[in-house]
C-alpha cells in the first residue's frame, strides 16, 4: 500500500493505506482519532467535518491522497486548547445531547468564526445547514456560537460569562465512563 505523510493537529503522521481511503477512516482506524464521526459517507450530514488548512471539509468524501497536501485539524486538535472559546461556549450552553454530531458542528462553527466574528443567526444557519443533529440541539448551537463570538470579540479581561455571579456551580463531575 502507498505511504502518505499527513499533518494532523500539527504532527506529521505516516500512514500506509489504499489511495482511495477516505480521510475519515485514516483518522479513525489508522490514527485512532475517533472524535471525527461517520454519519452518512456521502457528505450529507457533516458529522465527519475536519479542517484542511483551516477550511471545513467532509473527511468521508476526501481521500487520503487529497488530504496529504495540507494541514488537518480534528476535534482533538481544536480541543487541545482547554480554554477554546467554542468548546467553553458549548459546555456553558449544555449543547450536546447524544453528542455524536457535535465534533462536526464545532469544527464548522470554528471555521465560521474564523471568518466572521459577529455572525447573525442567518450566517450560522448558512454555515451549519449541511449538518444534521437528530437530537435537535440547533437552538443551543446558535446560542453557543453567539456566546463564543462574544468572548472572541470582548475586550481582554471582560469576557461575558467569564466573570460575575453565576447560578451554576464552579465545577462539573468527571464523566469517567465511555472509555
Amino acid at each position: 500500500m502507498p505511504r502518505y505523510t499527513l499533518t494532523v493537529n500539527g504532527q506529521k503522521r505516516a500512514v500506509d493505506v489504499a489511495a482511495d481511503t477516505p480521510l475519515l477512516w485514516v483518522l479513525r482506524d489508522t490514527l485512532g482519532l475517533t472524535g471525527t464521526k461517520y454519519g452518512c459517507g456521502q457528505s450529507l450530514c457533516g458529522a465527519c467535518t475536519v479542517h484542511l488548512d483551516g477550511e471545513p471539509i467532509r473527511s468521508c468524501v476526501t481521500t487520503v491522497a487529497d488530504a496529504a497536501s495540507g494541514g488537518i485539524t480534528t476535534i482533538e486538535g481544536l480541543a487541545a486548547d482547554p480554554n477554546h472559546p467554542i468548546r467553553k461556549a458549548w459546555i456553558a450552553e449544555d449543547v450536546p445531547q447524544c453528542g455524536y454530531c457535535q465534533p462536526g458542528m464545532i469544527m464548522a462553527a470554528a471555521a465560521l468564526l474564523a471568518k466572521n466574528t459577529k455572525p447573525k443567526d442567518g450566517d450560522i444557519d448558512a454555515a451549519l445547514s449541511g449538518h444534521i443533529c437528530r437530537c435537535g440541539t440547533y437552538q443551543r448551537i446558535r446560542r453557543a456560537v453567539h456566546r463564543a463570538a462574544r468572548s472572541l470579540t470582548a475586550p481582554f479581561g471582560r469576557r461575558p460569562g467569564a466573570a460575575g455571579p453565576t447560578a451554576r456551580p464552579p465545577a462539573s463531575p468527571t464523566d469517567g465512563g465511555g472509555r
Binding site: M1, G35, R87, D94, S129, R134, R142, G176, G178
Partner: protein
C-alpha cells in the same frame, strides 16, 4: 364533579395494553422470559454486606462507592443516549448522599444483576430510578452519619450531611467523608434509610451543567463505533435485499482481491466481510456477490399497503372502547364531521449508524454496544452462543441517539455470530444506507374519525376506527392483542363525550416495525388533536378554549391493570400555563397562524402552541413553539427543556420532511438525500415552561413528540385554511384547490 373513567380495553388480558407507556412490556416479556423479574423495577437495589473493618471504600450498593480519600463514584444504570441520564441520575444519588457535586465521578454501569436490567426506553429512567437511587444514596448518608455520630460523640439527629462532609451546625464542627469511610463501611447497610426532605435539596431541581459535555466536545466520548479492543477486526455486512429473504450463498472472488480483507463469513441473516479496516471491509462488502432466497410472500409496496389499510378502514375492528351509542348519536347530531388521516413509516435514523463489537472466546462472550435493552440482548446471546449469563458481559457505550431503535438486539446478535465465525474480536458497522433500510419502523397507519356536534356546540359523539401495521404483531404474529402498542392516545381520549367508540384493525405486512420515540402516541395524538381542531372549527369554537372547556370538570382516566391514571386536572394545567405563556390570542405576524395540541403520554402531560406561516413554496415555516409540561417533580429543568427542544426537531422532521416508502419489499430511501431530516435553518424558537409539582417525577424523553405535528398543522390551518391529514406535508398540499 370528579368522575372516574375506566378506559374499556375489551379483550385486553391482565398486564395488557398500556396506552401511552411506550414499550409493550408484555411482548418484551414474552421474548425475554428470564429477564421478567428485573423488568418490574428497572433499577434493583440490593444492599451489600458490611465490609470488613478497614475497608478501602464505602460501597453500600452497586451505585455508590466512596473511597477512603473521600472520592465519590456513582454508577448510572441506564444508557446515555442524549436524554441526560448521566447527569440526572447521579444528581439523585449525590443529593441523598450529601456529596459535593463538582467532585463526583460518573461511571456507566454494565449489565449485571446488581444494577438491574439497564433497560432504557419508555421515558422511564428518572421515573423508575427515583426511589431506588434515592434509597441507594440515603444508605450511604445514613452510614456516614452513624460513623460521624460515634466519632464526634453527638447524636446523629443533630448532624447533617452536605458537600462531602458531616456537619454539626451548632458548633460548626465538620468531618469530611474521607475520615469516615473506613468506619462507615464496617456498619450494616440500612434496608430502609430515611430520605431527605425535598425542601433541603441543593442538587435536585437545579440546572447543573451536564456531566457528559466535556467528553462530547473534545473527541474523548466513546460511542459504540469508537470501541477498539486488542486484536480487533472490522466487519461490514450484506443484509437481505428484501424483507424476509434468507442467505443462500456468495461469490467472494472480487472481495478477496481487496487489500486488507481477511475473510467472508456467513451468519444467520447475511454475510460478513472481515477486514483490517472499516474501509477495506466496506469495499469488500460492495464487491461481494451475495445470493438470497426471496421469502415467497407477495412483494410489499406502500401503494398496496395503503389499499389494504383503506380496506381495513371499511371492515369492523376490535372494540377498544364503547361508551354510550355512538352510531345513534352520530345519526341524530345537528352537525357531523368526518375525516381520514394517514401516517407513513418512519425510521429512527440515529446519527450513529448501527454497530456493535463482540469477542467470543474461551467460553466467554463480551459485547460493547450502544444498546438500549441489554437484558433482551443477553437472552438472545445465551441462545446463539450457548453460554450461561455469567459468561456473558455486555458493556454499554455512549449511544449516538437511540429513539427506540436500539431496544432491538438484532445488531448485537449479528456481531456475536460474526465474531464467533471470525475467531477474533470484531466490530460490525452498518452503512447509513443499511441503517435506514434495515430499521424497525414507526408503523404505517390510517384513521377514520367522525364526530357529532349538537346545536349548542357540545360534542355528542366521537367515533375513531383505525388500521395499522401492528408492532406487537410483528414481534409475535400469533398475538391476541395486536393493538397493544397502537392505541395510546386513541382509546383514552379524556373528554366528557357521552358516546365514544374506538376500534382497531391490524394490517399484516412484512415491513419490520418497532418502538419509535413516543410509539403509538406519536401518530395517534396527531390524528386525535387535529380532528379535535376540526371539531372546534365546525362548532365555531376557539380550539384552546374548547380544550379548557372539555377539561373543566376533573376526570381520572384509569387503565386496566396499571397503577397510573391520567389526571385531567394536570392536562388542563399544562393547557392553562400554555395559554398564559404564549399568550394565546396574542398578536401574530401577517400570514401567520397559531395552533395548539395537548396530550398525556408516558405519565407526563404536555401541551404545545406553534406559530407558523406557509413559506410560499409548498412548505411551512415554524417560527416559534411554546411548550408547557407537567412531569411531576423536576430533577433537572434544563434537561426537561432540552428534551422539549429535541421533541420539536424530531417530530417536525417526521411532519414536514422525509418518510420511509416501500417498493418491491424494500425501502426506497437510502441516505439523508432521500430521507431528509430537519436542519438548523428550519429550527424554530422553542420555549419551555414547567408546571411546578411535588408529584413523583415522570419522564420527558418522549411526551413532547406527540403534540408537535398537531400543533403545527392546526396552526397551518389557522394560517391558510388548509387541513393536513396525511404526514409528512407534501409539496402540493398547500396549493389552492
Amino acid at each position: 364533579m370528579n368522575r372516574d373513567v375506566i378506559v374499556n380495553l375489551s379483550g385486553a388480558a391482565p398486564g395488557g395494553a398500556a396506552p401511552g407507556t411506550g414499550l409493550s412490556r408484555r411482548d418484551l416479556l414474552r421474548l425475554v422470559p428470564a429477564a421478567a423479574a428485573g423488568l418490574v423495577l428497572g433499577v434493583r437495589l440490593t444492599p451489600a454486606a458490611p465490609a470488613a473493618a478497614g475497608a478501602a471504600s464505602l460501597a453500600p450498593n452497586a451505585f455508590v462507592q466512596i473511597d477512603v480519600g473521600g472520592a465519590v463514584t456513582l454508577w448510572v444504570p441506564k444508557s446515555e443516549m442524549g436524554q441526560g441520564v448521566r447527569t440526572a441520575l447521579p444528581m439523585i444519588l449525590a443529593e441523598e448522599i450529601g456529596a459535593e457535586w463538582g467532585k463526583v465521578t460518573v461511571e456507566q454501569a454494565w449489565l449485571d444483576p446488581r444494577f438491574g436490567d439497564l433497560d432504557t426506553g419508555g421515558s422511564t429512567s428518572v421515573r423508575t430510578s427515583w426511589d431506588p437511587l434515592r434509597k441507594a444514596g440515603a444508605a450511604a448518608r445514613a452510614m456516614l452519619l452513624q460513623a460521624a455520630s460515634t466519632r464526634m460523640q453527638l447524636p446523629a439527629a443533630v448532624l447533617s450531611v452536605a458537600g462531602g462532609r458531616v456537619i454539626h451546625q451548632r458548633s460548626g464542627r465538620q468531618v469530611p467523608f474521607s475520615d469516615l469511610v473506613a468506619d462507615a463501611a464496617a456498619l450494616p447497610v440500612p434496608a430502609d434509610p430515611p430520605l431527605k426532605d425535598p425542601k433541603d435539596y441543593t442538587i435536585v431541581g437545579r440546572p447543573l451543567l451536564r456531566t457528559d459535555t466535556p467528553a462530547k466536545t473534545d473527541g474523548r466520548a466513546i460511542y459504540g463505533i469508537d470501541v477498539s479492543v486488542p486484536g480487533m477486526l472490522h466487519a461490514a455486512v450484506v443484509l437481505p435485499p428484501t424483507f424476509g429473504a434468507t442467505p443462500e450463498g456468495f461469490d467472494d472472488e472480487k472481495t478477496r482481491r481487496v487489500p486488507g480483507v481477511r475473510a467472508v463469513v456467513p451468519f444467520s441473516r447475511g454475510f460478513a466481510v472481515i477486514a483490517e479496516s472499516t474501509w477495506a471491509a466496506f469495499k469488500g462488502r460492495d464487491a461481494l456477490v451475495a445470493r438470497f432466497k426471496e421469502s415467497g410472500r407477495p412483494p410489499e409496496s406502500s401503494a398496496d399497503l395503503r389499499r389494504r389499510c383503506e380496506a381495513a378502514l371499511g371492515a369492523d375492528g376490535k372494540v377498544l372502547r364503547n361508551d354510550g351509542d355512538t352510531a345513534a348519536a352520530l345519526k341524530t347530531a345537528a352537525k357531523r364531521v368526518e375525516a381520514t388521516y394517514e401516517i407513513p413509516f418512519q425510521a429512527h435514523a440515529a446519527m450513529e449508524p448501527t454497530n456493535a463489537t463482540a469477542e467470543v472466546k474461551d467460553g466467554r462472550c463480551t459485547i460493547w454496544a450502544p444498546a438500549q435493552t441489554p437484558s433482551w440482548a443477553l437472552e438472545e446471546l445465551k441462545r446463539v452462543t450457548g453460554l450461561p449469563a455469567e459468561a456473558i458481559r455486555i458493556n454499554i457505550t455512549f449511544l449516538g441517539g437511540g429513539f427506540g431503535r436500539r431496544i432491538n438486539p438484532d445488531f448485537i446478535i449479528d456481531a456475536a455470530e460474526i465474531a464467533t465465525a471470525a475467531g477474533a474480536p470484531v466490530k460490525m458497522l452498518w452503512s447509513r444506507e443499511q441503517d435506514l433500510q434495515h430499521d424497525y419502523y414507526r408503523p404505517f397507519a390510517m384513521h377514520r374519525l367522525a364526530a357529532g356536534i349538537e346545536a349548542d356546540g357540545r360534542i355528542a359523539a366521537w367515533s375513531h376506527h383505525f388500521a395499522s401495521t401492528s408492532i406487537s404483531a410483528f414481534y409475535d404474529p400469533a398475538t391476541k392483542e395486536p393493538e397493544s402498542d397502537e392505541i395510546g392516545g386513541a382509546a383514552d381520549v379524556p373528554w366528557p363525550i357521552p358516546n365514544v367508540r374506538v376500534t382497531y384493525k391490524p394490517v399484516d405486512s412484512p415491513v419490520p416495525r418497532g418502538w419509535w420515540r413516543s410509539v403509538d402516541s406519536s401518530g395517534n395524538a396527531f390524528v386525535v388533536e387535529s380532528f379535535l381542531d376540526e371539531v372546534a372549527a365546525a362548532a365555531g369554537k376557539d380550539p384552546l378554549r374548547l380544550r379548557q372547556e372539555l377539561l373543566r370538570d376533573p376526570r381520572r382516566i384509569t387503565y386496566p391493570n396499571r397503577a397510573f391514571i391520567q389526571d385531567t386536572t394536570r392536562l388542563k394545567g399544562v393547557i392553562d400555563l400554555l395559554a398564559e405563556k404564549t399568550p394565546w390570542g396574542g398578536p401574530l405576524g401577517p400570514g401567520m397562524g397559531r395552533g395548539v395540541a395537548a396530550h398525556y403520554s408516558f405519565q407526563s402531560y404536555c401541551a404545545m402552541a406553534a406559530e407558523v406561516e406557509a413559506d410560499g413554496r409548498g412548505g411551512v415555516r415554524v417560527h416559534r413553539v411554546v411548550c408547557a409540561v407537567d412531569c411531576g417533580r423536576v430533577v433537572h429543568p434544563g434537561l426537561v427543556a432540552a428534551q422539549m427542544e429535541s421533541a420539536v426537531v424530531f417530530a417536525l422532521s417526521a411532519a414536514v420532511r422525509g418518510a420511509i416508502t416501500i417498493d418491491g419489499s424494500r425501502v426506497n430511501e437510502k441516505n439523508f438525500d432521500s430521507y431528509d431530516l430537519l436542519r438548523i435553518d428550519a429550527m424554530p424558537t422553542v420555549e419551555t415552561h414547567i408546571v411546578p409539582s411535588t408529584a413523583p417525577p415522570t419522564g420527558v424523553g418522549e411526551p413532547g413528540v406527540p403534540v408537535v405535528a398537531p400543533a403545527v398543522f392546526n396552526a397551518l390551518f389557522a394560517a391558510t385554511g388548509k387541513r393536513i391529514r396525511r404526514l409528512p406535508l407534501q409539496r402540493g398540499d398547500l396549493k389552492p384547490a
